[in-house]
């Protein structure tokens, strides 16, 4: 089974701090994703990466950056945490789709509930 591990289940930080959320997958997946989940808004894509050192902005990248130095690890960085970044953060990984008629499902971690005070 694919294992996607997020370093913390719960995290409390202060406004203005630099925050690192770590995600590691053990299945040699090329694609990795960071989402935030908020009540009534579903999951929204922050950033994704389809290869080492590659990254693309998702739907809500403002206030965030990412790092993918190794294939198995994808880090989400809050450069200067703000209270509106209090949320549940979910990491996911998948193999790439090789053709338009193939599909690889995304596998999710347990999530990190981040509170910014």
């Amino acid at each position: 089974d694919v294992k996607v591990t997020q370093s913390s289940r719960y995290l409390v930080k202060r406004t203005g701090e630099k925050v690192f959320l770590e995600c590691v997958q053990d299945m040699d997946h090329e694609n990795m994703f960071w989402y935030r989940q908020d009540p009534g808004l579903g999951l929204r894509l922050i950033y994704f990466s389809y290869d080492v050192k590659m990254k693309e902005k998702g739907d809500i990248p403002e206030g965030y950056s990412v790092s993918r130095e190794k294939k198995e690890r994808f880090s989400l960085i809050l450069e200067s945490a703000s209270t509106n970044q209090t949320s549940m953060y979910l990491c996911a990984s998948s193999l790439p789709d090789r053709t338009r008629y193939s599909n690889q499902p995304q596998h999710f971690g347990d999530g990190t509930r981040l509170s910014i005070l």
Binding site: N31, G42, L43, F48, A92, D97, N103, P105
Partner: protein
């Protein structure tokens, strides 16, 4: 841009009964994938079922089946013989495959409670 709409925020069903969760989407693409994900209270999101738009046959996975109406852009999930373990949040999601960078667009989710 694609959108996914789940208009019901909550539903409740008696154990052993059948429940249908609705989802509609909007796209101009002809080839795409649709998914239902389940997020139990323990929070790990897992894939329940998926449907390829080019396939006319509705996908089925044990007690879970979909009613895919491409012309109506509707993708509902039917859970038969509901079990207490089905209590979870369910998300409908859309993917337009575009090479290696396929992204999911999620609906807002629906909270399903199965009553004993």
């Amino acid at each position: 841009a694609q959108t996914v709409t789940q208009s019901q925020p909550e539903m409740s069903v008696q154990e052993a009964e059948t429940v249908t969760l609705s989802c509609t989407y909007d796209t101009s693409e002809s080839n795409y994938y649709l998914f239902w994900y389940k997020q139990p209270p323990s929070r790990q999101m897992i894939l329940v079922i998926r449907q390829e738009a080019y396939k006319q046959q509705n996908a089925t996975e044990n007690r879970f089946s979909v009613n895919f109406q491409k012309a109506a852009k509707s993708f509902s999930l039917k859970i038969s013989d509901s079990q207490l373990g089905d209590t979870a949040m369910y998300f409908c999601a859309f993917m337009n495959p575009s090479g290696a960078n396929s992204k999911l667009t999620f609906g807002k989710g629906i909270t399903l409670s199965v009553r004993p």
